[in-house]
Assembly symmetry: C2
Homo-oligomer: 346 residues x 2
DNA sequence: TTGTAGGCGTTATCAG
DNA sequence: CTGATAACGCCTACAA
């Protein structure tokens, strides 16, 4: 009896308790509460059972249901960092979509570590969720890649649904973001506005998203007949953008027309760095990013960016996962350039 | 091989499979993998079991464990909106803390609806998580309040740990944010900088967080001997801040020295509205908010705000929940004013 | 329509 | 140290 510290610790009421209170068998109680598809229960009993359940504050033990039925009514999402607007927007989409399908959303944070990501997916498998959506930034050559793939494959093999976001994979349905295309469009748009000399702030090349955006932009520049820009590698964060820009401006006035960063938070850091160096973003140097996170338009100057419908991406990932047999296992999400005052015509 | 539509659906390997492969009993396999506290297993068997598990890609069925052990290694967090930096910062804290304690974090989004929140907590109870942290903005007089309380109480009665964030409750441990104190300090700081006439943009009075901040600010003003400011009620969002400010500035140049909003995202909207009306935030009107979300310092002018260690709040909530018998059931989190260029001395 | 019994995967107990 | 076996809470044939 003595459960220790926590004292009397009445156990949570079970279906048995409800059944007893209502004076029926567990089977009937179960059917009364869940409405069996084949059997039907006398109305009077139903109300009696429901009343008993109410009175006892009964909640079915999901794990018990899960074990009886095979899987948990759960949808798991893996992201790199929930406090990053890129991921929190995707997450919000996944979460509402999950809830719309009566699935309990679960969020794991891999903290940008492939090893952690692998460990998470392993643990997740034990949860037996109906869906696993992986939105972390794929990192090439981390060694853990095939292992992660295997793990997901094993999960899929027993009926789980896997969806990757952004990081296209041959083996799983994917919501693919056209990062390269976005980069290309951005290059062309900026060139039309009269920009010629660029600095590109990218993250480590092994980060796929960054590389695709960067390469797309370079390709666009080439297509427009522009010379190769300066490419600076830094971290994929606000601080990375800040520091790289500081260094760029160390020698004096900007030697480039515009700084293009591979995401918006880097661009925000870059704008601050430009100001701290005594210049004005937009006027002295153009600035552009990727993602179109919430307050791009509230910055001063408002930030030019490659828009990605992140919330929608989350929703689509969920729909793709739940769709019956995706004939079209890859959804390509188009991107679009939004020109704002951080890159005025010049 | 053909996994077909839903086809052969090999079931996931169970502990039985592992045991059979290793040529031991399930009991031994279980002990070998989880290291029972009382029994110990021959090393040779251990390695054999581990090898078999590896080979089969075995993952323990968490629901089965849960049902055998009583609860899930899970920590649930309820927020209003994960895409709001206030909540995503708290969430990031909760999530890392949960993972540090080997708990699987689960996030539910109540979408600012008390009814939804209640429904979520009910569902959550069925999950049998070890912890439920409620961080949604408490709304007074929604009618669902006592019901929510009851639901949480029932959960607590069977050994669950409940922690509330911000919304102080007599019945549950709370991480209380000193919103009123922050408002008071902000008033005093702004008055010292020479501000006299204020407009306060608050959200609906029934939203506790907003009301406390607003009232604290008013109290601070009174203590400083200032006249009552203009109080405008609007939505608790960026757009709410924008619209209210637009209206305020409709008649021409600002009639107040500063606009104080009850959170940063409203302040961001306000700054844009000020610009759109042809004025300059900071120079023509001061602007200040609450929270100190990530890019307050990257705005131009940088935003004066009442800082709240949101990530830390999340971590503390988790620690509070897991602490052995909290003698001190309420942790008060102090707030501090950060003066920046959006409120220069005048 | 209702109840009984067996099983889901794991852990804990209790004999060997 | 190891192996049966009984729970754990629920669902679902199957029998009544």
């Amino acid at each position: 009896m003595e459960a220790g510290r926590r004292g009397k610790q009445k156990a949570a009421p079970t279906l048995h308790d409800v059944a007893r209170q209502a004076g029926v068998s567990v089977a009937t109680a179960s059917r009364a509460l869940n409405g069996s598809s084949t059997r039907t229960v006398r109305p009077e009993y139903i109300s009696r059972v429901v009343a008993a359940a109410e009175r006892l504050g009964y909640q079915p033990h999901l794990s018990a249901q899960a074990i009886a039925l095979g899987s948990t009514p759960t949808a798991a999402l893996v992201v790199s960092d929930i406090d990053d607007p890129y991921f929190s927007s995707i997450a919000s989409g996944v979460i509402v979509a999950a809830q719309a399908h009566a699935l309990i959303p679960t969020v794991a944070v891999a903290d940008r570590s492939p090893a952690r990501e692998l460990q998470i997916v392993r643990t997740l498998r034990g949860q037996r969720p109906r869906v696993i959506i992986v939105a972390g930034s794929r990192i090439d050559g981390a060694g853990t890649d095939t292992t992660l793939d295997d793990e997901l494959q094993a999960y899929q093999a027993v009926g789980g649904r896997v969806v990757m976001v952004s990081q296209e994979s041959l083996r799983f349905p994917t919501v693919a973001i056209d990062n390269a295309g976005g980069g290309r469009q951005l290059a062309s748009a900026l060139v039309s506005r009269g920009y010629r000399r660029f600095a590109v702030l990218s993250a480590a090349r092994k980060i796929r998203t960054s590389r695709d955006r960067c390469d797309g932009f370079l390709a666009g520049l080439r297509e427009a007949g522009m010379p190769e820009p300066l490419v600076v590698e830094t971290r994929f964060t606000r601080d990375g953008g800040y520091e790289a820009t500081r260094r760029l401006l160390d020698g004096g006035p900007p030697t480039v027309d515009a700084i293009v960063t591979v995401n918006d938070v880097m661009a925000i850091g870059a704008m601050t760095a430009i100001r701290d160096a005594g210049f004005t973003p937009g006027r002295d140097v153009g600035v552009a990013g990727f993602d179109d996170i919430s307050w791009c338009a509230d910055l001063d100057p408002a930030l030019t960016t490659v828009a990605i419908p992140l919330h929608q991406v989350g929703v689509m990932a969920m729909e793709l996962a739940l769709g019956d047999d995706p004939q079209q296992p890859v959804i390509r999400v188009p991107t679009s350039v939004i020109l704002r005052d951080s890159t005025p015509s010049r």
